[in-house]
């Protein structure tokens, strides 16, 4: 019983770390490039700060929700 919960938590934790890693890339790493994202043909810095990161975050949250549901179901710990 408790080991099932422990495994569930271990998987939940690693999913969360994955999510946070992607989150950190779109929050900090990309914007650290700053002016480096701009090219003569496309305003990359403007795009990433004004649109790209936000879209990535929204996709990330929905992806996280569906992955976490699968983990919960795998261990029979979802809400009945």
């Amino acid at each position: 019983m408790s080991s099932k919960k422990e495994q569930h938590w271990a998987k939940t934790r690693s999913l969360t770390f994955t999510v946070l890693a992607v989150w950190a890339i779109f929050s900090f790493v990309i914007h650290w490039a700053g002016e480096g994202l701009n090219s003569p043909s496309f305003p990359g810095a403007y795009f990433m700060a004004g649109m790209g990161s936000q879209i990535a975050f929204a996709i990330l949250v929905f992806w996280f929700a569906s992955r976490q549901n699968k983990i919960d179901e795998e261990f029979g710990l979802e809400e009945k």
Binding site: E35, F42, G50, S53, F57, A65, N69, D72, E79
Partner: protein, 609 residues
């Protein structure tokens, strides 16, 4: 009143679909009335009166005397609607009125707010919201108080919540006052109290239940009001049907114009700036991205502070207590983010197209490069100069308006766009209704967060645990009115600008609450002494630093100014919490078991509520 088969919640799609059609119909009717020669003032009045009456009606219909309904809307709000309500709760007068103007005036560095205020939801979804939903709290201090045990921890959380939320709510009431004053042509102070009356009508009788359903209605109004002018402008300027896609070409053109006109090089003269007072000229280009370490560091710190603040602000977190399951709490965060993106992804486009309308000499509405007398004779320039929102100062006396001679307040980018671009007045009325909806919905959420913490955590849990439900709910309502009145009073003093107060609220919240909340779920070893040390130390250090930088004239350390003082508060909070927890005894077996329960979705809610 129409009776719906299966109750209100089962028919949400129908109800809000009809509501949206009704609202669009109302906008069209106003357009027809305008064409028929009805005065602008009357149209402004109709917009404000019609929308506020609808919100108040929803508020009255949602009245309740059950504590589950009052505090968490009966925990039956579907994920999508909770997402919509959260978006309205979240997007304040500052998002609606000030954000596009901020991007316009402050360029790329300002977009750190856009990244921070959306990425914070990743933290909400992955670290906090589902676990707090499983815990089953009524309020955020309720979680802190039960997880760490003892009245002191609960009390500290209540104090931080009140300081952070109160800082924020005065800015919102200020926002409702500003919009009401302009739309209704009444004095600002009166506007503040009228705004407050509207806000209280929405929340007082039905608590969270009423606020939820009015916030959904307010989201619909605010998003319609924000999008229509931008679409209109993008098409009018000939850049394309969808502004979000058309903006990139427009940015190229704006950058071209900025370098020709000398944005960033042609600074206002000292005398001109003195004559313009608090108004600002355009000094930063829209895509002048960070280059040096300091610029990158400032972008990074602002993003981080706004994100951690998002994940610790109680009025946002408590929205996820109202979903019908843990599963839907997670999904609901995704919906919130999507609905928020509806406005946030549009703000840069609005800023860019406004720049084109004003700077591009090929566009009829442009003003830079025209003669001063011609510009100051424009009707919208005169109107907004009269209320002190903009000023033309001919610094070099050549009779031509240069980029460093046009001063404005960022707010007019949203508020004046319809007049600037020559759109009919009905659009101005719509924008006013949208700004009012944004400020009211946030104020409602904040006032409720404060009043609920005081009535549930301070009064019921600490002062009088034997109080019956009826007394508790009456206390909650009295507190709501008192706090609202206090907020309106402070707002009428006009102490800070809208944005300053908003950024402070985020930093107060993350300094004091972020780590106690996150570690409460993620670190079983965290105990009462550690949490109290983390809250008091983090909040204290942050508040001290803010005072030193903002009021005592200290030079900001490492560029950490008053907008970013969470960079001081958060590390102090984290270190203190870990060190003190490790130095004191680990939490008892019962608490550890409770944390285990929070971590799995199945089973009953953990708290006794």
């Amino acid at each position: 009143m129409i009776r719906l088969e299966g109750g209100f919640v089962a028919n949400l799609g129908k109800v809000y679909g009809l509501y949206t059609l009704g609202f669009l119909g109302f906008v069209i009717l106003m357009g027809i009335l305008e064409a028929a020669g009805v005065e602008n003032t009357i149209i402004g009045w109709m917009f404000v009166a019609f929308t506020v009456l609808i919100y108040a009606l929803i508020g009255v219909l949602s009245r309740t005397m059950e504590s589950d309904q009052y505090y968490v809307a009966g925990r039956e709000v579907p994920a999508v609607y909770n997402g919509m309500a959260t978006a309205a709760d979240w997007m304040s007068g500052a998002s609606f009125i000030a954000m596009a103007g901020g991007i316009y005036l402050k360029g790329y560095p300002y977009m750190a707010f856009l990244v921070g205020w959306t990425g914070g939801y990743v933290l909400v979804a992955s670290l906090i919201a589902p676990y707090l939903r499983k815990f089953g709290a009524y309020t955020v201090p309720d979680f802190i108080g039960t997880r760490y045990g003892g009245n002191l921890a609960r009390f500290c959380a209540v104090i931080i919540l009140v300081v952070a939320s109160f800082t924020y709510v005065t800015a919102q009431i200020n926002g409702t006052g500003t919009v009401a004053a302009r739309a209704l042509q009444i004095p600002f102070e009166l506007g503040v109290w009228i705004g407050l009356a509207g806000i209280l009508f929405c929340s007082m009788l039905g608590g969270m239940r009423a606020v939820t359903w009015t916030q959904v209605a307010q989201y619909i109004v605010l998003i319609v009001a924000y999008l229509i002018p931008v679409f209109w402008m993008s098409n009018k300027l000939g850049y394309g049907l969808i502004p979000h896609l058309a903006q990139f070409e427009a940015v190229g053109r704006v950058q071209e114009l900025e370098s020709i006109l000398g944005v960033g090089t042609l600074m206002p003269t000292a005398e001109a700036q003195a004559a313009a007072g608090g108004l600002a000229a355009l000094k930063v280009g829209i895509n002048d991205a960070s280059e040096g370490f300091m610029e990158k560091w400032k972008f990074f710190t602002l993003v981080l502070c706004m994100m951690a603040g998002t994940a610790s602000l109680p009025h946002v977190l408590m929205r996820y207590f109202t979903t019908d399951s843990v599963r839907n709490a997670r999904k609901s965060v995704g919906w919130s983010l999507l609905f928020i993106c509806g406005l946030y992804l549009t703000a840069p486009a609005l800023a860019t197209f406004t720049k084109l309308s004003l700077l591009d000499p090929n566009v009829a509405t442009s003003i830079i490069g025209k003669s001063v007398s011609e510009v100051t004779n424009l009707e919208w320039i005169q109107q907004w100069s009269n209320v002190g929102f903009l000023k033309v100062v001919d610094g070099n006396g050549d009779g031509i308006v240069q980029i460093n001679e046009f001063f404005m307040r960022g707010d007019i980018v949203v508020l004046a766009t319809p007049e600037m671009a020559g759109l009919p007045y009905v659009i101005s009325g719509l924008v006013a209704a949208g700004g009012l909806a944004a400020a009211m919905s946030t104020a409602d959420g904040l006032l409720l967060a404060i009043a609920n913490a005081l009535s549930h955590d301070l009064y019921y849990k600490i002062i009088d645990p034997k109080a019956d439900t009826k007394t508790r709910l009456i206390v909650a309502r009295i507190l709501l009115v008192c706090i609202g009145a206090a907020g309106a009073f402070v707002a009428s003093l006009k102490l800070t600008s809208i944005l300053g107060a908003v950024a402070w609220a985020f930093c107060f919240a993350n300094s004091g609450l972020f780590f106690p909340l996150v570690l409460g779920v993620w670190w079983k070893r965290a105990n009462r002494a550690g949490a109290i040390a983390g809250m008091v130390g983090g909040f204290g250090a942050g508040a001290w630093y803010l005072y030193m930088v903002q009021f005592a004239g200290m030079t900001p350390w490492m560029g950490i100014d008053g907008l970013r003082f969470g960079m001081i508060g958060m590390p102090v909070s984290l270190v203190l919490m870990i060190v003190v927890s490790l130095m004191t005894e680990e939490p008892d077996a019962e608490t550890q078991k409770m944390v285990d329960e929070i971590r799995i979705p199945s089973g009953k809610v953990v708290s006794g509520n």
